[in-house]
Symmetry: C2
Subunit: 332 residues, 2 copies
């Protein structure tokens, strides 16, 4: 099982995190809260991706750990702030941090965690990387975080619009879901001393796999099996999220249908009925929107797989292929 492989890396990654986040700080409403959040969830697949790329190019897991662990920290940071921004009350079946600690404290806990990620990556220097390589790694992180918040801003702006194009969606989604994966993979390659074109190829891999992962997730939100899919089925419709399927569908409908779909998506969450949701999903099936999204994700995935071929053949590369499948099949 690939999840066992991920699990086998957890202790190493969490030990690196513990170097920057104290386990017995007197400031308990900050660091205890972070540990609680970090320990409760997350498969650690972003750091493992970074480690595997690094190893596939001749590096050692031990040395790249500060960068790999930093990826997990920024991922957690973004979840904490996203949950506040989206008003989500539960994650991984448990109350979100802002529900437990209040919005003001949760904002501050996230802010601290983001800076801890920078501190974590800066520790590359202590693994013997030069100041120049450590600095460039920090710049990679910084660039990723800027793009991530741009993606978030774009998604927020989409909420008030009905004319979002597929191209705009793609500009948003690679920032929002691709850039962290891209940075994890590219950083792993860069720190192994790979040439620029390999680093670039790994960045492209992440830029493809992240959105493929997101689009698959959005499809599951519509047609996933209850129980297997951990989040709220049809939650995206209730939220009025502009997914690729919604954008595709809006381009296919008659005037009357479009008006009804828009009114359903614009409704406040609590007023959206199961009948509303079923209406939208049925239209999507009828107009091939779900199949279209699946096809787009499938194409991105196969292009992503081809990027992995620039790595020398090895057990690590095989593992990366498994990781790719794991992410998109995602029974987790």
């Amino acid at each position: 099982m690939f999840s066992d492989f991920l699990e086998s890396h957890r202790a190493m990654i969490d030990a690196e995190i513990a170097r920057v986040i104290p386990k017995d700080s007197p400031i308990r409403n900050l660091y205890d809260a972070q540990w609680r959040f970090i320990e409760e969830g997350g498969k650690r697949w972003r750091p493992v991706l970074c480690i595997l790329v690094h190893e596939a190019l001749g590096g050692s897991a031990e040395r790249v750990l500060p960068f790999a662990a930093g990826m997990e920290l920024v991922h957690n940071f973004s979840l904490i702030h996203d949950d506040i921004e989206d008003g989500d009350r539960s994650r991984r079946g448990k109350p979100t941090l802002w529900v437990l600690y209040g919005v003001p404290s949760a904002i501050n806990i996230g802010d601290n965690l983001l800076n801890k990620a920078y501190e974590c990556v800066a520790n590359l220097e202590e693994k013997g990387f030069s100041a120049a390589m450590t600095l460039r790694s920090l710049r990679l992180l910084c660039r990723a975080m800027i793009l991530l918040s741009e993606g978030q801003a774009m998604e927020m702006e989409f909420r008030d619009r009905w004319d979002v194009t597929e191209a705009e969606y793609m500009e948003m989604v690679w920032r929002k879901t691709g850039i962290l994966v891209s940075t994890a993979a590219a950083g792993g390659a860069y720190l192994a001393g790979a040439d620029e074109s390999t680093v670039q190829r790994m960045a492209e891999y992440g830029k493809l796999i992240g959105p493929a992962f997101q689009i698959t997730d959005d499809v599951l939100n519509l047609v996933g099996e209850y129980g297997k899919y951990k989040k709220e089925i049809w939650g995206d419709i209730r939220e009025g999220k502009k997914t690729l399927m919604v954008i595709h569908l809006l381009g296919q409908l008659s005037r009357g249908e479009r008006a009804r779909v828009k009114s359903i998506l614009a409704k406040p969450r609590r007023l959206t009925t199961r009948r509303d949701c079923r209406y939208v999903v049925d239209l999507m099936k009828e107009h091939g929107s779900i199949d279209y999204a699946r096809r787009v994700a499938e194409e991105m995935l196969s292009e992503a797989r081809s990027k992995l071929l620039c790595l020398p053949k090895s057990a690590h590369r095989d593992r990366l292929e498994e990781l790719t499948d794991f992410l998109v099949r995602r029974d987790f």
Copy 2:
């Protein structure tokens, strides 16, 4: 006038900021919002402090600008998030960012700005500083931001407590108000190639001047002249803020008085009457709490001034002395 001197640096600092924050980005709900906030306010005294220290030690303003401007960016970041966390609806006489753009967007705008500060400081490399010096500057920023959020967490935790000691208050306040000033001054010295003891002395200067500034502000909140003092008089009492005066006062009162003061501070903001506020302020005057706080601030200020003496005598050092007085007299 010292504020004219500050004003004369604004264009240079804002031009440096413009290198990292685009003025014509299509992502308007992000970058236009940041510019609006940054341009509307702030005296830019933190960057000017950094520049003056740097010049006093033989450096040039031009070279240190990325670090100096970075200080202004993180200051603005912290205001944006603080306003959400404290629920403040106005700043500098205008609606706060979260009032204008909503909490979700304001959180994201702040997050982006924090990362832009890192990007700004990383630009030191382009001014000819070595990777090692640029990296250490980023670490200074990172350390500052971690301490700042620790200070914020401590202040939040104080809200539910009545047994906060003066020592705990001091641990909080230098993190919350000293560390940025400390980092601006220490960074200016470090980047001028100063020896460790000078860098240290500049860090201590900021660690003293920041809290002295805050305590003076808290005193003004109680006894400031309406009109001259820009914020809401007695706002701290309505908020139940654990200022140095409150901590001092609680240690002096009889059981009955303490119970009444606690009940006033614990009241929701809108229920606190002018009579309540006057009662607390009168007790503070009677028990010497305000004089005590003034004395503490005065002592920190004079110790801070003495730290400046490690700099070679120059027009820049004179300006730093003026800045010190300006900050604590603060008619702005």
